[in-house]
């Protein structure tokens, strides 16, 4: 989970640095995506300790990338019975 989040931040940072290389007026200033990938977040929750503290979601912005993807949770579903 932490790996995934760091990965997103790193990708954004690299893209941002690359964009700073020129002075073209058309340069796009990238916005680092701080949103949480909802699918990954839910998969992470499923493995949490039942007797642990529930994860707070009040300060998270979620990014929904799988609303049209019926296979997004196949790995979770296929391992359960």
């Amino acid at each position: 989970m932490r790996f995934i989040k760091n990965g997103v931040l790193l990708a954004g940072l690299i893209a941002g640095l690359a964009a700073c290389g020129g002075d073209d007026d058309d340069d796009i200033i990238p916005v680092v995506d701080k949103a949480t990938n909802y699918t990954a977040f839910v998969k992470g929750l499923l493995d949490d300790d039942p007797n642990g503290e529930p994860a707070s979601i009040n300060n998270r912005n979620f990014r929904f990338t799988n609303q049209e993807n019926p296979d997004a949770y196949d790995d979770v579903l296929s391992s359960s019975n």
Partner: protein, 516 residues
């Protein structure tokens, strides 16, 4: 203490005031927006009282009801509890508003996959919960059985010491919840069938055995529900028996425990606080293509959903009506997710309640709102009454409080107005099934307790507001038991309770229809 309070001039004054009057709200049914989507974990009522069954007066009965407004004909799946949830009854016995003991129930569905020969050598699974008659000791025709375990957790409900409660006769840690009351043809003798599921239990650390029962019961709450929520479309100072109990034909699912009272108290103080909660796993992934699944128990089955993560509380209930008519709409879901130790966040709803103002808008001078701040309601809802049902340490928090030193009242002598009716074994000293908590709460809201019985004042008022007016929703039970009923007015003579554990009456059958 009971003796002292009963002789208190203030108690007599209030009791006389109330009883001289001719003889708005559901306790916690669908009371918050979020929980309406999860009826299996919607707590509706919580009872806690010294057992009044003969020979059991040294016990406390705890009953947590779930799944509101069940129609008895709700087949073919009826009303199983949620096997992914945990249902809990918490006890605070030192007054810090944190649970010291938790009784945790967890359920498991067992499917037989019964089928019938439907030709060509096939055995076709049936779509029903039973394919023949069921009786005590003979459940072969039952297609679905729900079993459960009960754990006793000492200390924090998630990190405390967990011990297993077992059947005192068999040492088994698994109990059976009887099937709901499908109807008289499927289960001809439902009381005998259900009684077979009352188990003696060995409770760790407790010298004497208790009892447990989980199953469907007749709804014990009594209310003129439709009119109450229709801007109190009734006369709030009319007769107490002038309106129908509109939920008289509904059922409920009860989790009932009987525990020796000295196993619940802590230290010298005999008062305990209690409440129930339900929690579900935080994450849920719905399977778009369930296969066979646990429903048939077939090989390679894939369930309809995968749930996991930390148990997350979605329902909370202590004293009746709090989240229903005290907590404002923006905070109802938050209340259900909260714990008593954090109740300061809801204080405004108690010190400056909206209900008296609403009733004043609706009924003018017949319902004058008492002055604020409502320190009388702080006593009633958040601290308990000094010297009566207050815990050793006073931490303002919402829970049901019971003084276990006060002897139970036999059914024939019970007064459904509880303490304000002169019966100190009733609400708000705990709560019994017969207690008319709607009428009691209405009168408390309208200022009957201002400065009375050790309660705080209403602003500068130290005497009851609204004179001799007695507020009522007009519906009440017929009596504490069938043998001690006092039938009158519009009251349904079936609205009574049992004289013994689990006290709430046997459920309304799904058929024949004229039995509903």
């Amino acid at each position: 203490m009971q003796h002292m309070l009963a002789k208190s001039p203030l108690a007599i004054a209030v009791a006389s005031l109330v009883l001289a009057a001719p003889s708005a709200l559901a306790s916690s049914h669908r009371e918050a927006p979020f929980i309406t989507g999860s009826p299996k974990v919607d707590g509706t009522d919580f009872y806690m009282f010294r057992s009044y069954e003969p020979t059991r007066s040294d016990f406390v009965t705890l009953i947590a009801n779930y799944q509101p407004l069940q129609d008895s004909y709700g087949g073919p799946n009826y009303f199983l509890l949620d096997e992914n949830a945990i249902y809990e009854i918490h006890i605070d016995n030192d007054g810090d508003a944190i649970e010291d003991l938790t009784f945790q129930f967890q359920f498991n569905n067992e499917y037989k996959n019964l089928g019938v020969p439907a030709g060509a050598g096939t055995n076709t699974p049936v779509p029903l919960s039973n394919i023949g008659q069921i009786s005590a000791g003979n459940t072969a025709a039952l297609n679905v059985t729900q079993t459960y375990s009960v754990k006793l957790i000492t200390g924090d409900r998630r990190t405390g010491q967990v011990q297993t409660i077992t059947n005192a006769n068999t040492n088994s840690d698994t109990f059976v919840k009887p099937m709901d009351n499908i109807g008289n043809k499927s289960i001809p003798d439902y009381p005998a069938y259900a009684n077979d599921a009352i188990y003696p239990i060995a409770i760790p650390g407790c010298a004497n055995d208790g009892r447990v029962f989980v199953g469907q019961r007749k709804e014990g709450f009594v209310v003129n529900l439709g009119e109450v929520f229709d801007l109190v479309n009734t006369n709030p100072i009319g007769p107490r028996d002038g309106e129908r109990n509109i939920i008289s034909n509904k059922n409920i699912t009860s989790l009932a425990l009987e525990v020796p009272k000295n196993c619940l108290t802590g230290g010298e103080n005999p008062v305990i606080g209690g409440w129930t909660t339900a929690s579900v796993p935080q994450a849920r992934v719905i399977n778009p293509a369930p296969q066979g699944s646990a429903v048939t128990g077939s090989a390679g089955a894939k369930p309809t959903s995968v749930e996991g993560g930390a148990y997350t509380q979605v329902s909370r209930l202590g004293a009746p009506l709090v989240n229903e008519v005290v907590i404002g709409l923006p905070d109802k879901d938050r209340f259900n997710a909260s714990e008593p130790k954090d109740d300061a966040q809801f204080a405004q709803y108690v010190t400056n309640p909206s209900l008296p103002v609403l009733l004043n808008v609706l009924f003018g001078d017949a319902a004058l709102p008492p002055e604020t701040p409502r320190n009388d309601l702080v006593t009633a809802f958040l601290t308990g009454f000094p010297g009566f049902n207050q815990l050793a340490t006073v931490t303002p928090s919402e829970m049901l409080r019971l003084n276990t030193d006060i002897a139970p009242t036999a059914p024939a002598q019970q007064n459904d107005l509880g303490v304000i009716g002169g019966d100190n074994a009733g609400f708000p000293n705990g709560r019994r099934p017969y207690d008319d908590v709607v009428d009691i709460a209405l009168n408390a809201a309208m200022g009957k307790l201002c400065g009375q019985l050790g309660a705080g004042n209403c602003g500068t008022q130290s005497t009851p507001q609204n004179g001799s007016n007695f507020y009522t929703d007009g519906a009440r039970a017929a009596g504490p038991t069938a043998a001690t009923s006092v039938i009158s007015g519009e009251i349904d003579n079936d609205d009574t309770y049992l004289a013994e554990f689990p006290y709430l009456a046997n459920p309304v059958p799904g058929s024949p229809s004229d039995a509903q």
